[in-house]
């Protein structure tokens, strides 16, 4: 995981000047004092506002390359672009389109910003930084300027590898959202999904079958990386709450399905806490929000039922008792209820039940011919998204548990399935066939701001990390 030490800096003049200022302070007191508390910010320079109550307008041009080589310039350009996209994603700021920046000459340094020109463009805030390369390492100094006050509301310096410039942008975006909008951003979160993009096949005794492996990618689809290499069917991946493990269903062992928990940064062999055998098959894991338990589907009692176990496989509990199908569990935000699919009424519908399985399940879909894949939102929202049949395909619907109102997230553009909430509940990921192949998209919870995440192969069942 990211190692970040928080270090706040106030821009100063030269180091000598700073020392001189503190000397003057000490000289006046002429005795040892505790360090003075940070100065109050100048009024109006701390939080960027629009002055009119609407979202503040931000501009993010390409960052400045402090060293003049092509690689630094490319990094500086990438950081600017990605940061603009990250800030646009949360819709807390109005992002001034980048093609309108052409008339403004690029600043040669952070000390020479043409604030008047940015003011003309309507910018309330300007995010810009300076990129310096040292071998394979990069240092990025960034400012969020209050354009009207012509000073920095936020200043920070970051160092890291030149191999992943996007990560600088994601970090800066999350920081700005936290400090300026009191919002937890998702720019450093990741998606996991299964995909057939590598075109692998397994040759069985008779059949030649196309299989899937598990991948992760940045939330915006960049940096896809393959997690499984076992050349069998791997599906339904879900992140653990600490983001260090992925649980998934795999047929890797003698071709029967079991749940595997893989600590993806350790390289250790995955564990199978549900203890599948050639007879006991386990599918569709779902981590509880506190990361201590896994709900899943198993055939161990003779038909597909929902079970809960601790993450290490202990304390197995059966949740449903119905001779038909009970499938696809998902945890409530407080971890005390489970939503799932059941055909007990004659067709697949969404139900909720307490996480001990003591009470009668309650059906929540009343107007669906066919519904599956409930996914319960994180707090502070209390909603269940699912795929409901509309015509030949599916659309993502969102059921508000408190009000009982259901809203459509998608509207018949291809078939839309497998919804997953972002960790803040402000966005969802899902799969759609609207472009032909099966691709993963992310979208705001109001259905606005659709972004295509995957670009190759067919991709399934996304899940969004914290």
């Amino acid at each position: 995981m990211m190692t970040i030490r928080s270090s706040f800096i106030v821009p100063t003049s030269t180091l000598g000047g700073a020392l001189l200022l503190s000397l003057i302070t000490l000289g006046a007191a002429d005795r040892q004092q505790p360090p003075p508390t940070p100065q109050q910010r100048q009024e109006g320079s701390g939080i960027i506002t629009s002055g009119s109550g609407s979202n503040p307008k931000l501009a993010v041009p390409d960052f400045i390359a402090a060293t003049p080589d092509a690689e630094t310039k490319a990094i500086a350009t990438t950081i600017g672009e990605v940061l603009w996209n990250d800030l646009k994603f949360e819709r807390e700021f109005y992002m001034i389109p980048r093609d309108t920046y052409q008339s403004i000459p690029p600043a040669p340094s952070l000390e020479a910003i043409p604030f008047d020109r940015w003011r003309e463009l309507g910018a309330d805030g300007l995010v810009i930084g300076s990129v310096r390369k040292n071998g394979t390492a990069v240092t990025v100094e960034v400012r969020l300027f209050n354009v009207a006050a012509r000073n920095a509301a936020f200043a920070k310096e970051y160092s890291g590898t030149a191999a992943n410039p996007r990560l600088f942008a994601h970090t800066i975006s999350d920081e700005i959202h936290k400090l300026q909008r009191n919002l937890i951003g998702v720019a450093r979160t990741k998606l996991t999904f299964s995909s057939d993009r590598d075109g692998e096949r397994i040759k069985g005794t008779v059949y030649d079958r196309k299989i899937k492996e598990i991948y992760i990618a940045d939330y915006d689809g960049a940096n896809p990386r393959r997690i499984t290499v076992n050349r069998s069917l791997n599906i339904n991946p879900v992140w653990s709450s600490d983001g260090k493990a992925i649980a998934y269903t795999s047929y890797r062992r003698a071709n029967f399905p079991d749940i595997f928990v893989q600590r993806i940064y350790d390289g250790t062999p995955p564990e199978s806490p549900a203890h599948g055998t050639d007879r006991i098959h386990n599918f569709l894991p779902a981590w509880s929000p506190d990361g201590t338990r896994i709900a899943f589907m198993s055939n161990r009692d003779g038909n597909p039922e929902i079970y809960v176990m601790n993450a290490d496989g202990s304390n197995l509990r059966r949740i449903t008792r119905q001779p038909g199908i009970d499938a696809t569990p998902s945890w409530s935000p407080a971890g005390n209820q489970i939503a799932f699919t059941s055909d007990r009424s004659g067709s697949p519908q969404i139900y909720t039940v307490d996480a001990e399985g003591l009470q009668q399940p309650r059906r929540i879909t009343s107007d669906e011919s066919w519904a599956d894949r409930a996914t319960w939102s994180p707090a502070p929202y209390n909603e269940i998204a699912y795929a409901g049949r509309t015509g030949p395909g599916f659309d993502i619907k969102i059921f508000n548990v408190a009000t009982g109102i259901t809203q459509l997230l998608t509207h018949g553009e291809g078939s839309n399935e497998s919804p997953a909430f972002s960790p803040t509940g402000r966005h969802l990921a899902f799969t759609s066939t609207r472009l032909g192949n099966q691709h993963i998209f992310i979208v705001g919870r109001d259905g606005e701001g659709l972004i295509q995440v995957t670009k190759e192969g067919n991709n399934f069942t996304p899940n969004w990390s914290r």
Partner: protein
């Protein structure tokens, strides 16, 4: 300020700075006056840059595959289709009368070859969700196994596995393709 006072003050400042350097030094902002509005902030702030790093995932090599003896002639048995599949109605697991006839024949064959171990694969057409179809395929496979047991086949000769809609037999998007995909498929896995 008198020169000697400045000297003492700078000694004091330097020793404080030195003291701060010993042991753990958390990154500390140097609190100063913000520059006057007309003055542009210059140069680099003194605090150390914040490190950015992200771990890279590590893949694990696959487990060695379980090989069954004598795969060659097993391939022949399965290619010949000696054990025929059973087909299902949309979203259903009931075995039709045609299915019952197929299973009666399959049971007879399995009694002729009492050492055969058989895997019953449950499959679905593409129209349901991938997740629910894992369960539907499971019920289809279990349903067929149950029926064969009532026909006298020992249950430990019969494995089941659900593939949901993951492995269609017919990639088409027509009623006939879908009908071909809603099946319990037989694979002899050991003899």
């Amino acid at each position: 300020m008198p020169r000697h006072r400045l000297f003492v003050a700078s000694l004091l400042a330097l020793s404080l700075a030195a003291a701060a350097c010993h042991g753990k030094k958390p990154p500390v902002a140097r609190p100063t006056q913000p520059p006057p509005e007309s003055e542009m902030p210059a140069a680099r702030p003194p605090a150390p840059p914040e490190p950015i790093a992200e771990p890279r995932p590590v893949t694990v090599p696959p487990e060695p595959s379980v090989s069954s003896a004598d795969m060659g002639s097993l391939d022949d048995i399965n290619k010949k289709g000696i054990l025929q599949p059973v087909f299902f109605e949309l979203d259903r697991i009931e075995i039709s009368s045609e299915g019952q006839a197929v299973l009666a024949k399959n049971a007879e064959t399995m009694k002729q070859y009492p050492t055969w171990i058989v895997s019953i694969e449950g499959h679905c057409d593409e129209r349901g969700t991938a997740e629910y179809n894992l369960a539907l395929g499971e019920r289809r496979a279990l349903s067929v196994r149950q029926y064969l047991v009532t026909l006298g086949i020992a249950s430990d000769r019969l494995r089941t596995v659900s593939y949901g809609k993951e492995f269609p037999f017919d990639p088409g998007h027509t009623e006939s393709a879908w009908a071909r995909n809603r099946r319990a498929n037989f694979v002899v896995t050991a003899k």
